[in-house]
């Protein structure tokens, strides 16, 4: 479905230098119209810089940025079809809420009454109906963010840029706003581009995510593909938790690799959808997510394969228990998460246990 959507933004080999510092190192990506797109990465990875090149606050050193098919080089922010929600929200403190929301309507040819109605509608859309006369500096963090959203959306931009808009909010409010933003995006149908360092936020909200490290896009995929089939260990580590075990590739043919992994033994892996190519000097690695393995209690049978292990650490979370278990024949403990269903005991440290796992859940890193 998403492949039918037209392209909204295209980066072609975008580079950006700050003096000697190479901030963006050859960005190539396409963002589709109506998509909720996230730029995810640790601080300093270039995600905000990339967002600001779309808004026009940063020039680029080389390459091309196309917005709706048009090269935007040299076009100032005020002439771009984009609007931004700033990390600090940038609410004008000397204006009221409605003056803030109507700030961009100065050149709008509509009548005063029509503009006032548009402001009221925008405020209602973000759940701030009736707040128009309030002084902007008297608002709470969450309200400021809604004002910033209304102020940007009232101009009906082709692209809405969000620079870590939720990072200043507390956890509960943040989770509420995530859902609200998704609903809002569906309602208005505008392309949203979100910058965030919070992998959970990106997974929850996005249609597609570009994971960035050191000025490059490490992987651009749907949330599910990113989680299930990360292309590199760095991506796997940044999104959720993954256990890694050293492995040897014994043979490979027709998308099936015969490998031997420490603690797990020999197995055949379907690597059709995974990255191919030469093995890195450090050797191959297999990874699995904590929830794809399971501790086997008493007479439980493994659905697929099983290995012996010793419990090294127990972290009890109420609904879940995280076990760090050392598989026989390995050096590092693996994390396995277990749902605390009724009647299942929490194991003690030092317990010998069987770990059930499935080759289908393993990811091979070269």
């Amino acid at each position: 479905m998403s492949s039918e959507k037209p392209t909204m933004i295209e980066f072609k080999d975008v580079h950006k230098y700050y003096g000697d510092y190479h901030a963006l190192r050859g960005i190539n990506a396409t963002i589709k119209a109506g998509e909720f797109f996230s730029l995810l990465g640790p601080s300093g990875c270039g995600k905000t810089t990339l967002l600001r090149t779309i808004a026009g606050f940063e020039g680029i050193s080389s390459g091309v940025v196309l917005i709706d098919g048009k090269d935007v080089a040299g076009i100032r922010p005020n002439h771009r079809p984009t609007n931004m929600v700033f990390q600090s929200y940038a609410i004008f403190p000397h204006l009221t809420v409605e003056q803030n929301v109507g700030f961009g309507l100065r050149k709008d040819p509509r009548s005063k009454e029509d503009k006032a109605r548009a402001v009221d509608e925008a405020l209602a859309m973000v759940g701030l109906a009736g707040y128009g006369k309030r002084a902007a500096h008297a608002l709470s963090g969450g309200q400021r963010q809604r004002v910033a959203l209304a102020r940007a959306l009232i101009l009906k931009p082709k692209v809405l840029l969000l620079d870590e808009p939720l990072s200043a909010l507390d956890k509960k409010l943040r989770e509420n706003m995530q859902v609200e933003l998704i609903k809002l995006q569906r309602q208005v149908g505008i392309t949203f581009i979100l910058v965030t360092h919070d992998q959970e936020e990106a997974l929850v909200m996005s249609d597609r995510i570009a994971v960035m490290f050191e000025g490059q896009i490490a992987q651009l995929d749907s949330p599910e593909a990113l989680y299930r089939l990360p292309k590199t260990r760095a991506v796997a580590n940044f999104i959720g938790t993954m256990n890694f075990l050293p492995a040897k590739i014994l043979s490979e043919a027709g998308g099936i690799a015969e490998i031997e992994a420490a603690g797990l033994g020999r197995m055949a892996l379907n690597v059709e959808k995974q990255v191919t190519g030469a093995v890195s000097p450090g050797g191959a690695t297999v990874g699995f997510r904590p929830e794809t393995a399971t501790l086997l209690f008493d007479t439980q049978e493994a659905t697929d394969r099983e290995s012996m292990a010793t419990v090294e650490e127990v972290v009890y979370y109420g609904d879940m228990t995280y076990y760090d278990v050392k598989l026989d024949g390995t050096a590092e403990p693996m994390r396995v998460s277990m749902r605390n269903v009724f009647g299942r005991p929490v194991l003690d440290i030092g317990t010998r246990t069987r770990v059930g796992w499935s080759p289908g859940a393993l990811v091979l890193f070269r």
Partner: protein
Amino acid sequence: MSERQVRSRFWGSEAFSGLALISPTALYAILLLAAPLATTLLYSVFTDGYLVVIPHFQLCNYIGECRSQLADGTPSPDTYLGAWSDPITQALMLRSLNVSMLVTAMTVLLAYPVAYFVSFNVDASRKSLWLFLITIPFWTSYVIRVFMWNVMMSRTGVINSVLEGMGIISEPLQMVFTIQAMVVTLAHAYAPFAILPIFVALEKIDRSLLEAGQDLGETRFTTFLRVTLPLSMTGVIASVLIVFIPTIGDYVTPNLIGGGKIPMIANIIEKQMLKADNRPLGSAIAVSAMLVVGLISVLFLFLNRRYLKGQK
């Protein structure tokens, strides 16, 4: 609770240490500011005697005709006009207002671009150097700074010599002894006072607000008009008051640059206080000038009140 406990509680309290901290300043302010001010107020409603002030209440120093007492205690045959009745005092008050408004306008208009430049265009690591350079004129005394302009602008001064030497003028320009010369001198002397508050106000502006302005369709210039300028108005207002209030009472510049020929209100106060030995009239003029400045300042603040509301 015993009295002793109460007492020790007072000596150890924060309120006491606060009072102790401000007491030298408070004492200083009371002795050197409040007491002379109260004396001036009292003198302005007393009667002028020969080399003394007689504590006899009257309002004629402000309005109407007044008589001094002679050395033998009898009223003088000659009368003088009170501050608000005397056309000369009125004229000097108007001239002082005129000069200080011109000075204020010129200083603040010239100071704003400097403050803007230092705040927005100077590299963060060099800002303190720039501020330091701006305050360098304060290293020399105020009188010398004012007199320097006399050296620049007099008939045989630097400007006239250069222009004559280059053949641009054949006769020296008359610059000193004019109101314009006084305005230039005062504007220069008060420039740092105007630059610093505006600089502080500009520094406080969140730079993302300026980006937001452009993001919402404004050019850099219209963003300045709609965002930067209103947000820096607190600094502009402070600058206006800081320049306007002292220049109205300036007394050195009319003497050194005006050559005593263009006196302002402070010069006539000095004359009444010292040469004319009429301290009640001098006090009444001083109090009147203070009232005028106070009223204008309050009016100015009132007109700009929307910029002074609490902002985060």
